[in-house]
Structures are given as C-alpha cells and as structure tokens.
Amino acid sequence: MPQIKLDKTPLEMFHKEHGATMVEFAGYSMPLQYQLGIKGEHLHTRSKSGLFDVSHMGQIRLKGVSVLKDLESLVPSDLQSLEVGAMRYTVFTNESGGILDDLIVTRGDGYALLVLNAASKVAGLELLQENLDCEIELMTGSALLALQGPGSVKILNELVPGVEKLFFLQSAEFTFLGSPITVSRSGYTGEDGFEVSIPKSDVRKFAEILLNDPDVALVGLGARDALRLEAGLCLYGQDLSKDVTPVEASLSWVISKRRREEGNFPGFGPIKEQLVSGIKKRRVGILPLGKAPARAGCEIILDGGRKIGSITSGGYSPTLERPIAMGYVEELFSKIGTEVLLLVRGKYLPAKIVDLPFVNTKYFRQ
C-alpha cells in the first residue's frame, strides 16, 4: 500500500497530546474530535468557547494598488466599497455561473487577504495568478485559529486587548509576544467569535494560553460541521460546487446591486438570466420529522414518488436534539412548509422544507 503523505498544521503534536482522533481532510491530518466528543464539543461551543485549528485553510495576501477592483473580475460581489478592515463573503464563479469556491475577502491597507477552502486553495491560487496582475502570496508561514462561542470575546480580549471593539466581519492588526497577528470577528459556527491569523512559530503558545481558561475547549472538524449546518452555512464540495450558481445556492445576496448592472465577472450572463427569469432548483433547509438522520446524497421525493432533489448536508443537531439537513429541490417545491419525503435505506421518511438557519446566529453586529 502506498503511503499518502498528509500535510500537517503546526499544531499536529498539540492535537495528539490533547487526545485528538486525527483524520485526513483535504490532504491534511486534522483533528476530528478530542476527548469531549463531537456532541460535547458542539454544546461547549454554543454555551462557552470552542478553539478550532483551521490552519489547513488557504490564506492568501494580494498586494497592489487596484487589487480589490481587479479581484472583482473573479467574483460577483462589491469589494471596492469595503472599508479598510471590513470583510465580505463571496464566491469565485466560472463562465457558466457555477461556484468554484467560496471565500472571505478582507480589505487591508494597500492589500487584500483571502481565506479559501483547504481543498480548493491550489486551484484558487492558480485562478488568481492567471487573472490578476498583482503580488500574490500564499501565507505558508501563518496558522489560523478560530475561537467561537459566547465566552470568546472576554477570553480573547484578555490575551489581545482591543479585539472586543471589532464588530462582526471586521478585522484588525494586533500583536502577540511582539509578533503581528490579524484578528477578525468572524467564523463558521453562527456564534459570536474570532479568527486569528498568527505566525506558525507562535501558534502553539497562543493556543496553550487560551486553553488554560477553563471555559475554552478544543473542538474538532466533527463538531465544526454540525455547528455550521445548524447555522445554515454552506460547505464547499457538498452544498456548493461548479454545478450550482450563487442564485441557486440561495446566495444571491453576495451579488451586489452594482455588480448586477455592471457584470464583468465570470458567468454574469447566466446569473443575470437567473436573477431575471428565475431558477429551476434552490438550496433550502430540510427538517426530517422523525428521528433518523438523512445524510448527504439522500433523495428528496414528492408523495407519489417523483424525485425533486437531494440532500447535500445532513446529520444530527446536538443543539436541537434532532436531525437537520439542507439540500437542493426544484424551485416549484422550495416554499417553506412544503411536505416532502426522504429516501433513507429504502424507507420514505416525512420531512418539510424550512427556513435557514436552524439555530439563530448570534453575530456581534454594528
């Protein structure tokens, strides 16, 4: 058997020392869960503060005078109106309007920071290199941590004074032990929380100090997936792919008014057409009414037997103590409250279309 060599984050040993079960994810060795278990880590994040290593994600710095204007040629969002320190969620699209990746863009002073999915960071880097005439740096020297949950602001502010002044989707430079770090009020759980980009050489110390607080627990990818599903957030490769447009993905809000008129992004034609004439399928929340979880790939069926879509993310919600899911259904049947059936192991289980998120988000907005 050939051994596939996995990339490691700078916290590989730290995770193992804290009892992590390590798994392969996007070519990285990553913690799936720690001793507390997925459910325990999940509930801890919702009630106190969870610490996540997300160093596998692609952090890219773009430098140049017109970098945000140039970047707009690859995404449908308004980036030029961002103020320094402001962040925006957006997607890379292809010529048919399909989504190549979802990402967060932060406007720095004279630069932009991008955070891409781990699995698509190489492709994303190539896309940027082929299309942008600016300095592009994959920040291989930086780790990325997330501290999420209601207790996070107090805990992080003690270590990095001033972060409490940030609002949701704002970012600023701070220092830790003399090194520059970037802290943003953002995350992937629906909770108030922060993401910290920090030199790899300092990340262990930083994580250890945070973990000394009894309200902080390490949280792995298992809980991260359930948290983001409860918050109605998409996972690229499951809920988003090149086969769906932002309109179909219920992400039309990323396409700004100006960009809808001006275009100048890949797939503008098909996307504009969908905005005007409508779509055939749409991403929706799906609530199984019984106890059985319905996982990705499960077919969504109308009473009568016709398939109208499939689930793209599904599992158990530790917060609601019941199964939850999201997926794509024909637009005609996407209305909230529509009753559908889910085909699970040969059985038709009742479910209904519901609004997202499943658990209200608690972002610290301005």
Binding site: L32, I38, H42, K291, R295, G315, P323
Partner: protein, 125 residues
C-alpha cells in the same frame, strides 16, 4: 450456561442454547462516538453471517451492525428507539441490539473469545 463470542466487526454475541443476543463492544461505541439513532433493518428476517442487520448513527456517520452468525433476527431492543445513547453508556448489557437464532453453531468457532478479542483491539490501537 451462556458463552460470549466476539467478531472482528466489534460485535459481541452471548449464546445460550440456540439463541444469541448481539451488541456492540465498548471499543466500538468509543470509535463511533455519540450515538443519536439506531434502527433494525432486518427484523423477522433470515440473514447470513456478516449481513447487515441494523444501523447506528453517530453525530458524524451511519454504521452498519452485522450478524455475527447466520439465523433469524427475532427481536430488537426497543429501548434503543428512545434512548440510542444507551449504546454508549451500557453497550454490553442494557444496550444489547438484537436477538438472533443460531442456526449454524459451527460458525461460532470462527469468532473470538474475550481474551483473543482484547488482543485484537490492542493491535488496532
């Protein structure tokens, strides 16, 4: 006198006469994590050894439970319908999963005793 055997799929079967009670091992529940749902898929059916008989779902994934011997699945542990977490808290007693007739007792020889099973999981760790 009953005797308990173990499979490489991390199930135990306690055999008394021609009836076996099947559950998952403590090692299995640790690997699965928090179990949130369990259901039998082959109740009152005749199954062959290693056929899937039930499904347990943890927060992260669904896993099959297999028949450690050939026979007819005659009973399902109803307690698991409302309290699937019993599979985590008491997998070898009140968290038993199903009862099966032992139609081919010679198959039991292919299974492990407790000592052999403990050695088997040590090698996996």
């Amino acid at each position: 006198m009953s005797k308990t055997y173990f499979s490489k799929e991390h199930e135990w079967i306690e055999v008394e006469g021609d009836l076996g009670t099947v559950g998952i091992t403590s090692y299995a529940q640790e690997q699965l994590g928090d179990i949130v749902f369990a259901e039998v898929t082959k109740l009152k059916e005749k199954v062959s050894r290693n056929d899937d008989v039930a499904v347990v779902e943890s927060v992260k994934a669904a896993s099959d439970i297999f028949a450690p011997v050939s026979g007819t699945v005659i009973q399902w542990n109803d307690l698991l319908d409302d309290a699937p977490e019993t599979l985590n808290s008491d997998p070898t007693k009140s968290g038993w999963v199903f009862k099966i007739t032992v139609d081919a007792p010679e198959e039991l020889q292919e299974l492990m005793d407790e000592e052999a099973y403990n050695k088997f999981i040590q090698e996996l760790k």
